[in-house]
Structures are given as C-alpha cells and as structure tokens.
Symmetry: C2
Subunit: 331 residues, 2 copies
Amino acid sequence: MAAPSYDVVGIGNAIVDVLARTDDALVQRQGLTKGTMALVDTARAEAIYAAMPAGVEKSGGSAANTVAGIASLGGRGAYIGKVRDDALGTVFAHDLKALGVRFDTKPATSGPPTARCLILVTPDAQRTMCTFLGACVDLGPEDIDEALVASASVTYLEGYLFDPPRAMEAFRKAASVAHKAGRQVSLSLSDPFCVDRHRAEFRDLVAAHVDVLFANEREICSLYETKHFELAAEAVRGHCDVAVLTRSERGSNVVTKTDMLHVAPATVARVIDTTGAGDLYAAGFLYGLTHGRDLATCGRLGSLCAAEIIAHVGARPETSLQRLAVGAGLI
Amino acid sequence: MAAPSYDVVGIGNAIVDVLARTDDALVQRQGLTKGTMALVDTARAEAIYAAMPAGVEKSGGSAANTVAGIASLGGRGAYIGKVRDDALGTVFAHDLKALGVRFDTKPATSGPPTARCLILVTPDAQRTMCTFLGACVDLGPEDIDEALVASASVTYLEGYLFDPPRAMEAFRKAASVAHKAGRQVSLSLSDPFCVDRHRAEFRDLVAAHVDVLFANEREICSLYETKHFELAAEAVRGHCDVAVLTRSERGSNVVTKTDMLHVAPATVARVIDTTGAGDLYAAGFLYGLTHGRDLATCGRLGSLCAAEIIAHVGARPETSLQRLAVGAGLI
C-alpha cells in the first residue's frame, strides 16, 4: 500500500453560509426547529431570507469545514463537492484552495446556482439552518476521483449527502474505492432529522462500510430510536471500529469494541455561535487519527478545534488550529 | 418646504466586500498602496483574489455603509446605487432592506456582475482595497429618484462615484434636485488617489454644491495639494458650510466659516479593522446634524460610530449604534 498523499478527503454538499444573529421569535415564526437543518426550496429560501436580518456570507458545508480544519491543523486535505460556475461557487472554491485544500470537482455549467445555507444564530449561540441544495443535487458517482480517494488515509462523508438524489451512489462508490485501497471510511450523521429521513440506509452503511462514525447525542439516539444516550452508545458498539459521540458541554465519548473513553470539553470563554462545532470536532479527531495519536488525544484535539469555532460567528477557523494545538501540547 | 421623509439618502457604488486578514508582504507583492483604494479590472481582480487567503463576504460600499449606520442609529435612510440581478446583488439589497433602508434602484439585467471590493486587512488593522466596479458603471442620472432626493434632509455622495463614467451626471443631478428642494448636500472625498484622479472636479463641486464635506487628512491635503493639514484646513474654510476632517487616533476637526472645533476620538479597546471608519463617522455626524444636535455632539456621534466599526472585521455595524449612542448620552 502506497503512503497516503492526503490525510482526509471530504465529500459533501458544497455550500456558502449566510449567517445572521436573530431572536428566537424569528425561528418560531418560520416554523423551524432550533439546532437542526431543514431543506428548503427556492420559494421558502427567499421567504426566510427576506425575514432575516443583514448577514455575512462565509464558505461552509459540513465536510468542507472539516477539511478546512484539517488544513488549519497543518494536515493535507482534499474535497469533492459540487458548485455552479457562479460568484458564490467561485468564493467556495477560493476559500478551500486558499487554505491549501485540493478541490477540483468540475463545477456545474447549467442548472441551479451554488447551494446556500441560511443560518439563524440565536442569543443562546444555537444555530438553525435552512439549506437550499442548489447545484449540490448534481453530484454523482462520476465526480468521485478514484485515484484521489485511494490516496487519502480517510474518506470522510457527511450524512447530509443522503439528501441530494444521486449523491448516495457517489457515497457508496467512494467508500468502496477507499476500502479497496486499504483506507478508512468515516461518516458524520450530520443532523437528527437527516437520520430520520434515511435511517435504514444509515444503519446499513454504518454496519457495512463505516470505520469511524461521528454523531452527536440526538443523532445517535435517532439512529437507534432510543431516548437514552447510554442505550444508543451500546447499540453502536461493534458496528464500526470507532464511534465518536459528542455531547456539547458534556464533552464526548469515544466508543470502541472494548472501551468507552470520556473526553472533557475544552474551555470556551464565551460561546458565540455553535455553527460548525461538530465539523471541527471531526477535523481535530481525524487529524489525530491520521497522525498516529491515541484515541484520547484525538478526542482532545476534536474538543480543542470545536472550542475555537464556537467562540466566533461562522464555521471556518479564524485562528491557526496548528498553533492552538501546539500550544495545548497536543501535536 | 415639506418635512423630510428621510434623514439621509446615500448615493454610491453598490459593492459587496470580500475581507481577508493578510500579512504586509501580500500587499507589497501585489503592488498596492496600503490604506488606499485601487480600481482593478477583471483580470487583476482574479489575480489578487487568487493570492488572497480565505475570506468573508459582507455588504459594503461607502455611502451604503453610511446609511446602514444611519439606520442603526434609529434614523431614516435611503440608498441609490447599481447592482446586477445576481446572487451578490441580492445579498447587497437584502442587507440594506433588512436594516430598514429604502433601496429600490433597478438592478442591471445585463452587463457586468455586482461590484466587489477585495479588502486586505493587515496586522496593523489597516485596510487596502481593490475595487472591481462591475455593475456600478451603469449608474446614471436616470437612476436618481428625484422625489426621493427631494424628500431627504441630506443627500450624501461618496467621492468614489467620480470613477464610473456616468455617475458624475447622476451626482450633479442629485445635488441640484436636493438644493432646489431646500435640502443639504454632503460629500465624502473617499480616497486620496480618487482625489488625485478628479481634483479639478472635486474642487469645483466642493465650492459650488457641497454644504457638508467629509475628508480625512490625506484626502484634504490631496485636494489642496499641500503636505500641511493646517493649510488644507484653512483652504477648505468657506468653500462649504461645514468641513469635517478626520484624523484617525488624533480625533477630528469640524471647520466652519468662523470656527474650528476639535473632537476627541472615542476609545477603542483594540483596533481590528479600519474598513468603514470614515463611512461610519459620517453616519454619526449626519445623524446628529439631521436631528438638530450641535456640531460638537455631531462629531462625538461620528467618533462613537467609527469606534464601533474598527473594533471588528467589516464595515457594517455589529451592535445597535442607537443603544451605544443612548448609553453615551449623545442621543
């Protein structure tokens, strides 16, 4: 097996975020469920946008945020995802490449515009997301660069990819290519409602193809249809090599076939916006994993990266994660 | 004369900012002059963008930032400027309307895309700007809503408008409509190089049409071709009712036919990004002026608003300026 050229290749919905601070009333008036992601069509996206305060645009996308985090840690990241050849698509590509992330999926030249996600950040720092999938619906197996996937230690898939119609095929193809090349496959469950929409496929995928699973408490409980975190953590054990279960201010648990580690959360002076917390936790954890760190250190790296991202608005690091991690004695 | 419906109508280049923190080396390598604005064509914009780190997109435009500030202070703002009917144009319009600013200039349906400004923020918090004028070149006198201009206490024009070819006509038309309606005309010189490019027209305009002039030290010195601030301040006296001359950490001077007031700068814990400092100073000053405050209070309001904007990245307020101004006992 050749030495990997990349630590992580992320595959996901290529999205530009539109972030605005709002009150709880707007989330309620729009019939949204706080802390979750809802898919919206053009008309609904326009209606919600019209009701939103002035915002800021920032490249996002769950798996893209994760590989941005890998790059900020000094790791080698690559990304596969679909934008349109428009202004926001250019912004998305620029922001990844500027971090040193390889990104050469062909942009769509017709069809819907680059995807955007309207993110309402409430005073409690929670984020509620409305995603217009746009050009993401065009991602298909033909976009999976087999040589690229085979050259990455970990292929990281976001669960949100179950929503666009043909991405699932891309998903399975990438997992299969990665395993054939002797690499690892990682999956994030992304969102409890996303798990609801695709529970059977998620369970099948986790059991058959996933080596490292990321989920928060609500997502893992949704996957196994239980209200009790402990039962869900027991249910996932053995279905994949490592299940990393994040629990916000209660830290995280790393579940293996034989063990369950608890990782304390990193301290944050003031939580401003939780957008990207899970994405950056995954970045820290996967950086550790692909650099031979033990699982406890991987978890602490995840917590450290999540702590950076929730201290400001937006889901891309504003500080060098490498410097933070070196300062914390973790790398 | 009917009571005004608006405090300030701003006319300017409608621009979305792309802000990124960079080192000084990038500014030098790109041959840019720190702290100024350069006009760039598509090819140059693409080259600079390719060299820039990952950024954040935020609505900008000098006069638009000023009316956004007026709205944040609780005032009534309106705006005239040209975007294209594209994604960034939608963002620009949304962000103004979300603040309660009236903006109904017809977007261009063909031609270049919505303007953007690449802003390099160096570690000393200075901003260096590269503007691609895009759809702004289509602004012309036909876009000046005469009834709107006549209904605003102050028509505020940014000097940057001298750059696109037909905006000058729009500029003169607006000034003439405002004066016929018994309103005031205000102008910001915007940038020392912009003054260099159009010195004769600026001097003519200031002497003939401007009631309230805003300029920083470099701009007013450029206008009167002197290296000495005091000489420039003497030169402008009498050419307009009020000349407001800002001097960064040295505060500002308000020059009238008979007086010269000094206004101390407001304190800022840490200067992060000076983008929009002049725009927001003008917002505070004009809010005071249109609400019957004395010139010293107008200046203090200007300093307060400038202090808010330089404490974070981006040229639109992140805090309610009204709350700040009430807290400071200024309104």
